[in-house]
C-alpha cells in the first residue's frame, strides 16, 4: 500500500471520471466539457513543459482532447484510471510534435492515430486527490540529486534516450543509466514511504 499517495484520483473522483467517460461514449458534450475543465490545466502544463511554446502547446492539447472525444470508447476504465492514460497520450503527442519539429522523426500525416494503452494501477495503489498527489511527486523529485533529476527530465520531457542524454550532458552512458534508474527507484521508494 506504499503508493497510495499517488493514485490518479480520490475515491469520489475515480467513479466520477468513469461516469463522465461513460457519458462521453454516448457523445455527451456536457461530460466532455467537465472532463476538459477538470484536467486541461494538468495536460496543458505537461505539453507546455515539453514544447515550451504556448500556441503549439494549445494545438497539441486540442488534438489530445479531440482524440478523447472521438475515441473515448478505446479507453477501458475497468483496467486503469483515466488521468495517467490522458497524460500518457498528451506526452506522446507532444514528443511526436517535438521530434517532427526537430526532424529527428517525421510522423506521416496519414498515419492512424494511436492511443496509449491503459496505465494499470499497481495493486498497492490507493486513491489520493490530485492536488496532494502532485505536491508529493514534486517534493520527491526535488529531493533527487540534480543529475538524477536532470537525466529523468531529459528523458521524460524531451524524449531523449540514454545515449542522447549522455551526449547532451557529456557524461558516460553507464553513469546516465544509473542516474535514471536510481532516481526513479528513489521516487518509487519515496512514494511507498508516503503510503
Amino acid at each position: 500500500m506504499f503508493l497510495a499517495a499517488f493514485t490518479s484520483s480520490g475515491p469520489r473522483e475515480v467513479p466520477l471520471d468513469a461516469t463522465l467517460l461513460s457519458r462521453l461514449m454516448q457523445k455527451d458534450v456536457s461530460a466532455f466539457e467537465q472532463l476538459y475543465d477538470r484536467h486541461s490545466r494538468l495536460v496543458y502544463g505537461l505539453v507546455l513543459r515539453i514544447l515550451q511554446q504556448a500556441s503549439t502547446s494549445e494545438e497539441v492539447v486540442q488534438d489530445v482532447f479531440l482524440q478523447l472525444w472521438r475515441n473515448a470508447d478505446q479507453y477501458d476504465s475497468s483496467r486503469g484510471p483515466f488521468v495517467p492514460w490522458l497524460c500518457t497520450m498528451a506526452r506522446n503527442r507532444a514528443l511526436d510534435h517535438l521530434r517532427l519539429k526537430s526532424e529527428r522523426q517525421r510522423r506521416r500525416e496519414d498515419q492512424p492515430e494511436e492511443l496509449p494503452s491503459v496505465v494499470v494501477a499497481p495493486d498497492y495503489e490507493k486513491a489520493l486527490d490530485e492536488k496532494r498527489r502532485a505536491e508529493r511527486v514534486r517534493a520527491l523529485m526535488a529531493s533527487l540529486t540534480p543529475q538524477q533529476k536532470k537525466a529523468i527530465e531529459l528523458a521524460y520531457f524531451e524524449g531523449l534516450s540514454h545515449s542522447e542524454i549522455a551526449a547532451t550532458l557529456k557524461e558516460p552512458l553507464g553513469t546516465v543509466k544509473s542516474w535514471i534508474r536510481n532516481g526513479l527507484l528513489r521516487l518509487k521508494e519515496g512514494l511507498q514511504a508516503t503510503t
Binding site: 496505465v119 511527486v137 531523449l160
Partner: protein, 266 residues
C-alpha cells in the same frame, strides 16, 4: 543472453522511453517470450513514470482553446446524432420512400403510356392499311374511269346498243375497245331484286357454245349504271351478242333468268 535480473534493470528506463534501440529490442523480445514478473514490473514502472506529469507546472490554456474545442465537439455531436436516430425511427429514410413511390408511379405511367402508344400505333397501322386498301381501290376506280372514258371516246370502240326486253324498255349502250375492254352505261335502269345483281353475258357465235359469264353490277340509287368489263372475249368477231340478266348476288355460271337487255355485236 541476459537473465531476468538484468532485464529488470532496464524496465524503468523502458517505461520512460529512454532505452536505446538495442536494449529496447532485447527487453521487448523478453517480454514477448512471456515473463510474467517482468511484465508486471513494466506496468508498475509505467505507472511510476506517469506520475512525472505532476512535476510539470500546471498552466491554464486560453479560453479560445476551449471555445474552439467545444465548437468542434458540438458540431460533431450534432452530425453524429442524426444518422444514429434515423435507423431507430425508420430503417429506410423518407426520401428513399418518396423515391420508390415516384419510381412506382413512373413505372405505372410508363406501362400505361407504352400500352396506349402501342394501341395507337396498332390503330394507326390499321388505318394506314385501310387507307392503303382504299387508296388502291380509288386508284383502281380512277384507272377504270380513265379506261371507261377512253373506251367511250375512242372512235375505234365498237358501239353496241342493248335493247330492253319485256318490262325493261330502257336502252343501254356498250362500247367495246379491242385493247381496253368493254364499257356499258345506262340511265333509269330499274333496280334488280334484293340479293340480285345484273350480270353481263357474252354470247359466242359458235353454235352450241355456252354463254360466257362476265361482270356484275347494280345501278346506283338514281338508276345510273356504269360497268366496265376488263376481260371480254379475246375476239369481238367471235362474239355474237352481249346480254344482261338478273342473277342471284355473286353471279351464276349459266343464265338462270330471262334476258333483260341484249344487243348484237356487229
Amino acid at each position: 543472453m541476459k537473465n531476468c535480473d538484468q532485464f529488470r534493470e532496464l524496465i524503468e528506463a523502458y517505461a520512460l522511453g529512454a532505452l536505446d534501440p538495442e536494449d529496447r529490442a532485447a527487453l521487448e523480445a523478453h517480454l514477448a517470450a512471456g515473463c510474467p514478473d517482468c511484465a508486471k514490473a513494466v506496468e508498475e514502472a509505467r505507472w511510476l513514470v506517469c506520475q512525472l506529469a505532476y512535476t510539470a507546472p500546471e498552466a491554464t490554456p486560453s479560453d479560445m482553446l476551449k471555445g474552439r474545442l467545444m465548437q468542434t465537439v458540438r458540431a460533431e455531436a450534432q452530425s453524429e446524432r442524426k444518422p444514429r436516430m434515423l435507423p431507430t425511427k425508420n430503417a429506410i429514410p423518407s426520401w428513399l420512400w418518396v423515391g420508390v413511390a415516384a419510381l412506382l408511379v413512373f413505372s405505372v405511367y410508363s406501362a400505361w403510356t407504352t400500352r396506349r402508344l402501342q394501341n395507337e400505333i396498332r390503330e394507326a397501322n390499321e388505318r394506314a392499311a385501310t387507307l392503303g386498301i382504299e387508296h388502291g381501290r380509288v386508284l383502281e376506280q380512277l384507272a377504270d374511269a380513265k379506261r371507261e372514258a377512253m373506251i367511250m371516246m375512242d372512235p375505234t370502240s365498237r358501239k353496241i346498243a342493248l335493247w330492253g326486253e319485256h318490262a325493261h324498255p330502257e336502252t343501254l349502250e356498250a362500247k367495246w375497245h379491242s385493247q381496253l375492254g368493254v364499257c356499258i352505261v345506262g340511265d333509269k335502269v330499274p333496280m334488280p331484286s334484293a340479293n340480285h345483281v345484273l350480270q353481263v353475258w357474252f354470247i359466242p357465235k359458235k353454235e352450241g357454245a355456252k354463254p360466257m359469264p362476265s361482270a356484275m353490277v347494280r345501278p346506283d340509287a338514281n338508276g345510273k349504271l356504269m360497268l366496265y368489263v376488263s376481260a371480254p372475249p379475246e375476239s369481238m368477231d367471235d362474239t355474237k351478242a352481249i346480254a344482261i340478266t338478273e342473277e342471284p348476288a355473286g353471279g351464276s355460271g349459266w343464265p338462270t333468268m330471262p334476258i333483260l337487255w341484249s344487243g348484237k355485236v356487229t
